[in-house]
């Protein structure tokens, strides 16, 4: 099918009735793109993508995945629809082994297919193979993020949605995570990425949206957005020095 992989129109969503956190946000993600969503703390970025993933009740607006309306699809059916989500925090099962974490995500596949894809994930992320029997809660921050991403990729999604995958990681790991995402895109996966670390995200992104108070306030080509005065103002004081990798 042609057309955007993800199209969100006027999404309104919130945790309690009558208290919208997402207030009419619209974005579009084309096939093969990395689209970045930026925004200040508390802008509703996490709420926005959680609403897309079916985890926050939507009161108005539409979410189309590859042309199919998924607005009312329950969260547990999203992976079947082709949308895989990596939450910002607590994105692994800490008491389960790395292997079991991956198997759990392969639950919607035939077991043989799941085993093949898990083996391929271990080829892509050799660290995970080393620790396959280790409880995931004992992994380092970077390894956890790898596991969370590998878990999401097992289902070979049409769209990979990530919420601040670089949060809490050291600068070296941050660049590892972003080069990993860049490689995943090269392998043909379309990515929607929420980030605080604007510099690093815009470096790998194609287009970006700035979300302010629950709606998109700005849209642009990633490489240009960094020098955009609107973004500069939003990130004033948070903007990292050019020499550092940047931290949120």
């Amino acid at each position: 099918m042609s057309g955007p992989v993800l199209q969100v129109d006027g999404l309104v969503a919130g945790y309690e009735p009558g208290v919208p956190i997402v207030r009419g946000a619209s974005i579009r993600v084309e096939r093969g793109e990395i689209v970045v969503v930026l925004g200040p703390n508390g802008a509703g970025k996490s709420s926005f993508i959680k609403a897309i993933a079916g985890l926050v009740p939507v009161s108005a607006g539409k979410v189309l995945l590859d042309g199919t309306d998924i607005t009312a699809v329950p969260a547990h059916r999203m992976v079947r629809m082709g949308l895989a989500f990596v939450p910002q925090t607590e994105n692994i099962f800490p008491l389960m082994s790395v292997d079991d974490n991956l198997k759990t995500a392969g639950g919607i596949l035939k077991s043989k297919e799941a085993a093949e894809r898990i083996a391929r994930m271990y080829d892509t992320f050799p660290d995970l193979r080393t620790f396959r029997r280790t409880a995931a809660g004992n992994l380092s921050g970077g390894q956890r993020q790898m596991l969370a991403v590998a878990r999401a990729l097992i289902v070979e999604p049409k769209l990979l949605v990530l919420d601040e995958p670089s949060a809490g990681l050291s600068p070296k790991l941050v660049s590892m995570v972003f080069s990993m995402l860049s490689d995943i895109r090269k392998a043909g996966v379309t990515i929607l990425l929420v980030e605080q670390n604007a510099r690093a995200a815009l470096a790998i992104g194609d287009r970006a949206y700035v979300l302010v108070e629950g709606r998109e306030a700005h849209e642009g080509v990633a490489s240009e957005l960094w020098n955009d005065p609107v973004v500069a103002e939003l990130y004033l004081g948070q903007r990292p020095q050019p020499s550092t990798g940047g931290a949120a």
């Binding site: 079916g54 547990h76 992976v79 099962f93 800490p94 008491l95 079991d100 759990t104 995500a105 639950g107």
Partner: protein, 302 residues
């Protein structure tokens, strides 16, 4: 020294342990203490008894199997009883627990389970009266096996059945997708949904499994001791003590906890006095809560 208490303790411990599996899974996955679990046990036993009676009415008297006190009708009835107990748990969840759970206050669900427990118990007394009854009145000869220990064929069969069920449950929890899904929901329900797990299905599986094992535990009590409407309620404290001693959420822990409590009870009866039996669970429960609240196999919350 007379080691008879070891056999008695393992038997009591088996029944407590099988019951405690349901308690620990309900707590870990549905996040509340189900005080009606003991009554699932009693209802399962009476359901099994009723099916035995129905089979008897249809096919007449059936000879016992080999050296045991029961024939094939009991085995069939037990399977049906497990299914019926599972349905009872599902029905109770649908009309009561799930609605209250959705509001997110676990203490309200706990109180509801207490109410359900009383209602279920009264209903049993109403239907079957509170007079004790039995699966069989046949007296079994206990065989001496050395060290002053005597054991009946029924007791051996039930110990083996417990071992098989515990091993099967452990494999289910650790090696199957259903078990992994149950673990996932207990660790992080929101993430479980994100990875594609239907939480409602996992909840149903949890009820079915816990209730079926409660039915088996109750039927064991019925075969070895007697059947009373209060039989399950009386095991509530030992079952909770076993689940907490073993570490909430741990199936092997619940069984080991059950065996420890069963052995401690039997030892108390043999060496201290029968009137101390009821205190054992309470003392162990308090000791665990003070010394190691996460239990033997428990893990700190993330």
């Amino acid at each position: 020294m007379n080691l008879q208490f070891v056999v008695d303790g393992l038997l009591t411990g088996s029944m407590i342990g099988l019951g405690a599996i349901g308690v620990t899974l309900t707590y870990a996955i549905l996040r509340f203490s189900n005080f009606a679990h003991g009554d699932f046990m009693a209802w399962g036993t009476y359901a099994t008894l009723a099916v035995v009676g129905a089979i008897g009415a249809m096919v007449g008297k059936v000879a016992p199997l080999g050296p045991f006190s029961f024939g094939w009708p009991l085995l069939v009835a037990l399977a049906v009883g497990c299914a019926l107990t599972g349905l009872l748990a599902l029905a109770l969840d649908a009309v009561l627990f799930s609605r209250l759970r959705a509001r997110g206050q676990s203490i309200i669900v706990v109180m509801a389970s207490f109410g359900a427990s009383m209602a279920l118990r009264s209903l049993l007394e109403f239907i079957f009266t509170s007079r004790p009854t039995y699966f069989s009145r046949a007296i079994q000869i206990a065989m001496p096996v050395g060290f002053g220990i005597r054991i009946t064929p029924d007791q051996i069969a039930l110990l083996v059945l417990t071992a098989v069920l515990v091993a099967a449950t452990h494999l289910l929890m650790t090696r199957t997708q259903t078990g992994r899904s149950m673990q996932a929901v207990s660790q992080n329900p929101a993430l479980a949904r994100v990875v594609g797990i239907d939480v409602a299905r996992v909840v149903r599986a949890t009820w079915m499994l816990g209730a079926a094992l409660a039915c088996v535990a109750g039927t064991m009590v019925g075969i070895l001791v007697q059947i009373r409407p209060l039989m399950g309620f009386d095991m509530l404290l030992p079952m909770f003590a076993a689940a907490i001693l073993g570490g909430i959420g741990s199936v092997p822990g619940a069984v080991l906890g059950g065996l420890i409590i069963g052995l401690a009870e039997a030892a108390a009866v043999q060496f201290v006095g029968a009137e101390w039996r009821a205190a054992v669970s309470f003392v162990i429960l308090m000791a665990v809560l003070f010394v190691r609240p996460i239990g033997l196999f428990g893990v700190k919350e993330r």
